[in-house]
Amino acid sequence: MNRIFFAENLVRFVVFYLLLLLPGPRCGWAQARQLPADSVRLSRRVQRLGEVRVRAIRPEQFAAGSRRYEADSAGLSQFRGGTVAELLQARTPLYLKSYGPGQLASITLRGTSAQHTAVLWNGLNIMLPTLGQNDFALLSVAANTRLTVQPGPAAALYGSGAIGGAVLLGSEPDWRPGLRGSAQADAGSFGLRGSSLLLSGANPAVALRLSASYRQAANNYSYTTREFTGLVRHTLASAALHHQWSLAPEVAWRLGAAGQLTATAWLTDTDRDIQPAVGSADRHARQRDQSRRFVLVYRHQAARAQWLVRGAWFEDVLNYRDDGLLSNSRVRTTQAQTEYTAALGQRGTLRLGAEAQHFVAELLEYNGRKTENRAAAFALFRFDASPRLHLSANLRQAFVLRAQPFMPTLGLEWNVLTTTDSLIRPFTHSLIAKASAARSYRAPSLNERYWQPGGNPDLRPETGLGYEAGLHYRRRWGRRLDWQAELTGYRQLVDDWVQWAPGPDGLWRPRNLRQVLTQGLEASSGGTWRRGRHRLGARLAYAYTWARTHHATAADPVPAGLPLPYVPTHACNASLDYGWRRWQAAVNAGFTSFRYVDAGARDFLPGYGLLGGSLGYALPLPGQLRAQLLAQATNLLNTAYDSYEGRPAPPRALQLSLRLDWR
C-alpha cells in the first residue's frame, strides 16, 4: 500500500470535509442510495410484478458496493439545452479535458484515460468504435431522461471499456396520460443560441416522446497571450460551433398485460471548427460528426421473471478536414442483446444474458473496409442475505478478437447501523459499509487495430483488477434537515495498457506497453434543509487521484513511476442551492489542480478555480402554461485557464433561458 495514499495531511483534509455539517442539497447530485429503497424494493418484488406497468430491474441493482452519482431531474432540466460534458463539469468533480464550449471533450474517471469509460445508451455501448471513446460534447442532455455515473471497474455489468467507470444514459417512456410539452430558447455570450423542444403523450396503450434540441455558438471570446510586444489580446477564431442538433423520438407500446415494445432513435449532427492551439498556424480544421442510433426493445414481465430482447443499429460518421488533410470515416454497428431475470428463492435475483456486436468500418486509412465481431455472455446475481446485508456476484465471459477475457465481480453492502423508518419511530441515521472487487477489460479500438500506418491487429485487450471500499452515512433531523456523507477509497491495476509510441523501427503503433496503477479517495457530503418556503441545499465533493505507470515493459519508451497526463491530483466541486417561493438561486465552485500534458511529466497546465451561478424565476401563466426564466453565469471570476493545452477556456459568460411548459 502506498504511503502517499494515506499521507497524513491528506487524511486530515478529507476528515475536515467529512466533519463539515453542511446544510445540504437535493440539488444536482443526490446519492443514488436512498437508504431503505433497495431492500424495500426487492422485498416487495413479488407484489410489484403484478402491476400493469412493466418496470425493469436496472443493471445498477447488481452493482452492490459500488459508488454511483445520479443526475436528478432538476439537473437534467437545467442543462437541457447543453451537453453531458457541461453537466458533468458543473455538477461533479470529474475532470473532462475540453477544447472549449461545444468542442472536443473527453473524460477521465479514476485516473484512467478517455477510452476507459464505457458510455451506454439504453443499455448499449455507444462509444465511437474507431476511436474507442466518446466525445462528451456530442451527447446532448435533452435526449435523455436519466444520467448515471458509476466510477470504478464494472465490465461484468457494462462490458468492454468499463475500467475507469461507466456513464449510463437513457430514456424512459412517460406513461402519464394526456399530452404535455415544453419549449425553451437560450441565448448567451459569444454567439450562443439554442432551443429545445420536448413533447410527450400517452394513452393506456401507447406512449410517445419527442425531444429535439439545436445549438450554435460563435465562441469568439477574447484571450491574452504574452508575445514579444507584451501582453496581447486576441479574439478566438476558428472555434465556432456551426450547428449541433439532436432529435430523439420514442414510441412505447404495451402488448398485453406483461409486454412492452419500445422503439427509440437518437439522431445527432454536429458541425464545428476544431480550434488551433494558441501560437499555431490556423489550418482551418473542421469536423462533422453524425450519429444515427436506433434501438428496439421488447420486455416481458412474467410472475417471477422478466426477459428482454434488444436489437440496435448505429451509424457513426466522423469527417475531418483541414488545409492539408481529409479524413472521412463511417462505422456501422449492429448489436443484439438478450437477458432473462428471475427470482431465486425469496432473497436472490439472477440475470442471465448474452450480447453480440458486429462492426463495419469504412475508412481509407484502414485500407478499405474492416469488420469485427464481439460477443459476451454474462450472469449477474444479487443476494439480499438480510435486510441489512446485500451481496452481488457477477460474471462476464467476453469473446473478442484473439482473446476471451473473463470478468468476475463481487460486491457487498452492509447496513452497519440503521434505524428503520416506521410509524412509531422515524428514520434518523444509517451507516452503510460497502466493498467491491472487480476485473475489467477493454477490447482494442478499431483504430488501434487497423489504422494505417501503425495499426496493430495483435493487441491484447487491456485488463484491470480493482477494489473499492467505502462508508456512507446519512442522518436526518425531523423533516427539515437531511445530511449525508460518503467516503470511498479505491485501487486498480490496469495491465496491458495500450499506448501509441514509436516501436523499434521508429514507427508509431499501439502496443501493450505497461501496467498502470490508479488509486484515490472520493469524498462527498451534502444535505438539504427546508423551512416554510425556504429550501436550501448544499453539496461538496472532493476527489484525490493518483495514477502512475506501475511497471513498464522493456519496449516502453516512458520509464515507470511517472504520473499519467491529464489526471489532476485534486478535484473539488461545491454547490449551494437556495429556493424561496418562485425564486431559485444557485452558486457552484470548482477547483482542478495542475495536470501534466504528456508522458514526460514535465510540462503542465496550472490548477484553476471556477465560480458559477444561476438565478431563476417561475411565472404561472393562464391556462396550463408556466413560464420559467433562468439566467446562468459561468467563470464569474474571469479566470484565465486552459482545460486542454493551448486552448484557452472561455472567460465570464452569461446565458439566458426562457422556457414555456404546458401541463
Binding site: F16, R226, Q452, A501, D598, R602, G646
Partner: protein, 364 residues
C-alpha cells in the same frame, strides 16, 4: 459572522491546493561561447510546445526550455531550425509562421519576423543586413519561395520563387543554393540582386547541403517517396537517393552517385570541422528516423544503407565542428526525448533528456 468563518477554511484549502503546481522556474545557465549546444526540440505539431534546450558541454548542465525561461513566453509550434549569425540566433518556428530572433549568449528576445511567412523552414544570413528563409507556402494556393528579410527591421522585403518544398540552403561560391525537396532541382540565387540566376538539376528530392574543405558543394537527395492510396510506401515507384557534388562557383554538377536501395531516404547531411567527413541519416519513409552513416569526401563508394556507422535511429543529427563529437536526437515525441553524444569514432559518450523531437543541434 458565523457563515464566513464556515467558508473561510475550505476557501483557504482551495488556495493551498492552487499552490500545489510544480515549480515552474528552471535555472538558466551562463552560456560562454564554445561550450553551448542549442538543441532544437521541434515539439508536437499543433501543441505549440517546441523549445530550445541549452546543453553545456563542459558541465553537462541542461536547461530544458531556454527561450521560455529567459523570455517568459513559449517559443511556438514546430521549431524547425536555428541559425546563429553576428551574435544573434534566428529560430524558425514553422507552424507559428514566424522567426524568433534572440541575442546571444543571453537568449533575450530582440524581435520577431512575422510578415507574410507561411510554413518557413530554414534561415540563412546572406549579408549583414539581409537574410533568406525558405518557406513551403500553404495549401490554399500560396506558392513556395524564399523570403528576403531585413535584419534590422525584421520585415520581409522581397520574395524569390523557388521549386516546390524548398528546404535547406547554403551560401557557396558567392551564390545561394536552395534544395527544392519537392522536385529534383536546386534553385541558384545571386544574393547581390536577390534574383534566381539558374536552376540546377540534381537527384530527386534534394534535402540538405554541405561545403567541404575544397569548396565542393555536396547535395544529398533523398529520392522521391511514392505512397499508395492507403498511405503505405509504394517502393515500386519510390526512387533511390543520390549524392551529388556541385562545383559551386560555376554552378555545374560535378558528379552523381546513386544509393543501392530505395528502402531508406538519405537526409540531414553534415560535415565535420576539418571538412573531409560527411555524415547523414538514412531515414525511414514513414518515421523520418534512421541510423547514421559516414563518408569521407575522397571515398569512391557510397555507404551501404544496411551497414550504418551508428546503428541507433535518430530524428536529428549534429556534428560538433570543434570536438568532432556526433549528436543524435531520438524522435519519440512523447513529451521528452533524448540526445545522445558519440565520439567521432562512433562510441557513445552520454545522453541527456531534452524536449520532444530534437531535430538538430547548433554548436555555439
Amino acid at each position: 459572522m458565523r457563515v464566513s468563518k464556515f467558508w473561510a477554511a475550505p476557501l483557504l484549502s482551495l488556495l493551498a491546493l492552487t499552490s500545489c503546481d510544480p515549480d515552474d522556474d528552471q535555472p538558466v545557465n551562463p552560456q560562454p561561447e564554445t561550450t553551448s549546444v542549442f538543441v532544437i526540440n521541434e515539439g508536437n505539431i499543433t501543441r505549440s510546445n517546441g523549445s530550445i534546450s541549452l546543453y553545456n558541454k563542459t558541465t553537462g548542465a541542461l536547461t530544458p526550455d531556454l527561450f521560455a525561461s529567459v523570455n517568459n513566453r513559449p517559443l511556438g509550434d514546430v521549431v524547425q531550425s536555428m541559425t546563429v549569425s553576428n551574435g544573434r540566433g534566428y529560430i524558425v518556428v514553422n507552424n507559428s509562421n514566424k522567426i524568433e530572433v534572440v541575442s546571444l549568449p543571453g537568449f533575450q528576445s530582440v524581435g520577431v519576423v512575422r510578415g507574410a511567412l507561411r510554413s518557413p523552414r530554414y534561415f540563412l544570413p546572406v549579408s549583414a543586413t539581409r537574410g533568406y528563409v525558405t518557406q513551403w507556402g500553404n495549401f490554399r494556393g500560396l506558392r513556395a519561395d524564399v523570403k528576403v528579410i531585413d535584419l534590422n527591421t525584421f520585415a520581409v522585403v522581397d520574395s524569390i520563387p523557388t521549386g516546390p518544398l524548398p528546404e535547406r540552403l547554403v551560401l557557396a561560391g558567392g551564390k545561394v543554393y536552395v534544395a527544392n525537396s519537392g522536385s529534383n532541382t536546386l534553385t541558384v540565387i545571386d544574393p547581390a540582386t536577390n534574383r534566381v540566376s539558374s536552376t540546377l538539376t540534381v537527384g530527386d528530392a534534394p534535402n540538405s547541403l554541405a561545403t567541404d574543405k575544397n569548396g565542393l558543394l555536396w547535395v544529398l537527395c533523398g529520392g522521391t517517396v511514392a505512397y499508395t492510396p492507403t498511405y503505405d510506401v509504394d517502393y515500386a515507384a519510390t526512387t533511390a537517393g543520390k549524392l551529388v557534388s556541385v562545383n559551386a562557383a560555376a554552378a555545374t554538377v560535378a558528379g552523381t552517385r546513386t544509393f543501392a536501395t530505395n528502402r531508406r531516404q538519405p537526409t540531414d547531411l553534415q560535415i565535420n570541422g576539418a571538412g573531409d567527413q560527411l555524415y547523414f541519416r538514412a531515414a525511414d519513409a514513414l518515421t523520418y528516423t534512421g541510423p547514421v552513416f559516414r563518408l569521407g569526401i575522397a571515398e569512391t563508394a557510397l555507404p551501404v544503407l544496411t551497414a550504418p556507422f551508428i546503428r541507433r535511429s535518430f530524428y536529428g543529427l549534429g556534428v560538433d565542428k570543434r570536438t568532432g563529437h556526433i549528436y543524435g536526437g531520438t524522435g519519440t515525441f512523447l513529451g521528452t526525448d533524448k540526445m545522445i553524444r558519440y565520439e567521432s569514432t562512433g562510441t557513445a559518450i552520454d545522453s541527456a533528456a531534452v524536449g520532444a523531437g530534437p531535430n538538430g543541434f547548433v554548436f555555439y
